[in-house]
């Protein structure tokens, strides 16, 4: 996509302005990666947290090992692993999907701990009342536990969204053309890295600030007692 582009390097400002549309394309990739990664992290994290509570010891133990392993190894290593090793097993994913999956996997290990803490914070009396009313385990989690857990965990989950957003540039190492990937190419071709890299940093700032503000807003408007899912 870079061929045919010429950049005005006559002045810093002109250069910065001329690369803005290209970085905009990268921004969309960045946002998409964060959105897909975060969606995976939210869903998979909850699944892991629930499986960890399984009464089948082997399941809960396996999930505990998995999350611990994922949390304690670098994202970059996991990313390379998915990108270079999975194809050996016949699983070939586009670079973008590999990247979003790596982000989602890593962060699902974090969010699963958030969910776990949220579930454990539900008072014992709530579990006992649900048992006394003869709810099934599915009904107990869907109607009692998860609705009450949501307002408590929004702040922590929000932190991980901001954190993940800031980590998306890692994807550029597996050829995903996000903002950083594109800035690198612009640098290579113009021998000026200062401007494109600074621009990437500057674009991230309002992005993360907006995210934080959004989370604070959600936190404020959510009913503290919980949100019925049905």
């Amino acid at each position: 996509m870079m061929y045919g582009y010429e950049w005005d390097t006559s002045s810093t400002l002109a250069f910065a302005t001329s690369i803005l549309p290209i970085l905009g394309i990268g921004l969309i990739v960045t946002l998409k990666a964060a959105a897909v990664g975060y969606a995976i992290a939210l869903v998979l994290g909850l699944v892991l947290a629930l499986l960890r509570r399984s009464r089948v010891k082997a399941v809960s133990w396996a999930v505990a090992c998995f999350t611990e392993f994922v949390r304690d190894t670098p994202l970059l290593v996991q990313l390379f692993f998915l990108y270079y090793v999975l194809p050996d097993f016949g699983i070939v994913l586009p670079a973008f999907m590999t990247g979003a999956l790596a982000l989602g996997l890593q962060y699902s290990a974090y969010t699963s701990e958030v969910y776990r803490g949220g579930i454990n914070a539900i008072p014992r009396g709530q579990w006992e009342a649900a048992t006394a009313l003869n709810l099934t385990r599915l009904q107990l989690y869907r109607d009692i536990v998860i609705p009450q857990m949501i307002p408590r965990i929004v702040p922590s989950l929000g932190n991980y969204l901001v954190s993940m957003l800031k980590e998306t540039p890692v994807l550029s190492v597996v050829t995903v053309l996000d903002m950083l990937g594109l800035a690198n190419i612009i640098g290579e071709r113009t021998f000026d890295y200062l401007v494109p890299l600074s621009m990437v940093g500057l674009i991230f700032l309002p992005l993360t600030l907006t995210c934080s503000a959004l989370i604070h807003f959600i936190e404020r408007i959510l009913p503290k007692a919980g949100i019925p899912l049905r």
Partner: protein, 255 residues
């Protein structure tokens, strides 16, 4: 009358501590029984075992003819989830700390379980819930949330919630112990009203002696995991036979 609850040599341990020791106890259909005794004597444990909140290790327990342990039952409860559901369908519980669901309105607190568990039609259950709310005097609160209610009101909703499941046995675990003194009366009044329900057996753990005397068919005094003395309330309170019972009653009436 036939027994609806039958404990036969039930032993319950928490680790090395034996809470119930070869416990034997029967409750007849529709009978109102009060369990009294010092804290840690095992009376709440009896209720928690009946509600399947606690397993027990040895002996036999039946409720409405259904044995708690299955012949090849696994896990701490020695029973499958399905079997535990069957047991619970006959029994309900009112807790010391109410345990209403804070994210649901009063009406929804009552309606949710009959719809989800008994698969009853929502409009039918709502009609019944409104009837129950009228009975406990809280119809005007049906759209409020538990946090907007006083403790006494919350406990009355909790009683309505338990009744909506149409249990044959209702367990009350110190239902007024968490309440301010001026709110105790309204909850006791509701429970007193239930004492006339002929089909409903009630087991009540309480420290309200005068109330116990008034509503019970039988009072059981617990100490150290055993029933030390049991009897019809007038006889029990006016002329306790065991020294330990006398000691306990005088300490409670003095305090």
């Amino acid at each position: 009358m036939t027994s609806i609850i039958r404990f036969q040599n039930v032993t319950k341990r928490f680790g090395a501590l034996t809470v119930l020791d070869n416990f034997n106890f029967d409750v007849r259909q529709g009978e109102k029984v009060t369990l009294i005794g010092p804290s840690g004597s095992g009376k709440s444990t009896v209720l928690r075992i009946l509600m399947t909140l606690e397993p027990f290790q040895e002996g036999k327990l039946e409720l409405a003819g259904i044995s708690y342990h299955e012949p090849n039952g696994r896990g701490p409860f020695k029973a499958s989830d399905k079997h535990l559901h069957k047991i619970r369908s006959n029994v309900g519980m009112v807790f010391q700390s109410f345990n209403l669901f804070p994210h649901m309105t009063v009406l929804r607190n009552i309606v949710e379980a009959p719809v989800a568990v008994l698969k009853m039609r929502r409009d039918e259950v709502e009609a019944r819930a409104i009837e129950l709310l009228r009975m406990v005097g809280l119809l005007d609160k049906k759209d409020q949330y538990p946090s907007q209610l006083s403790g006494g009101q919350q406990q009355r909703v909790a009683i309505a919630r338990a009744l909506a499941m149409r249990p044959r046995v209702l367990l009350f675990d110190e239902p007024t112990s968490a309440l301010d003194p001026q709110l105790v009366g309204e909850v006791l009044a509701v429970i007193r009203g239930l004492a006339h329900e002929h089909d409903l057996a009630m087991l009540l753990v309480t420290h309200e002696m005068r109330f116990a005397r008034e509503v019970s068919d039988r009072v059981c005094f617990f100490d150290k995991g055993r029933i030390v003395e049991r009897g019809e309330p007038d006889r029990f309170f006016s002329n306790p036979e065991q020294p330990r019972t006398r000691e306990f009653l005088s300490s409670i009436l003095a305090g």
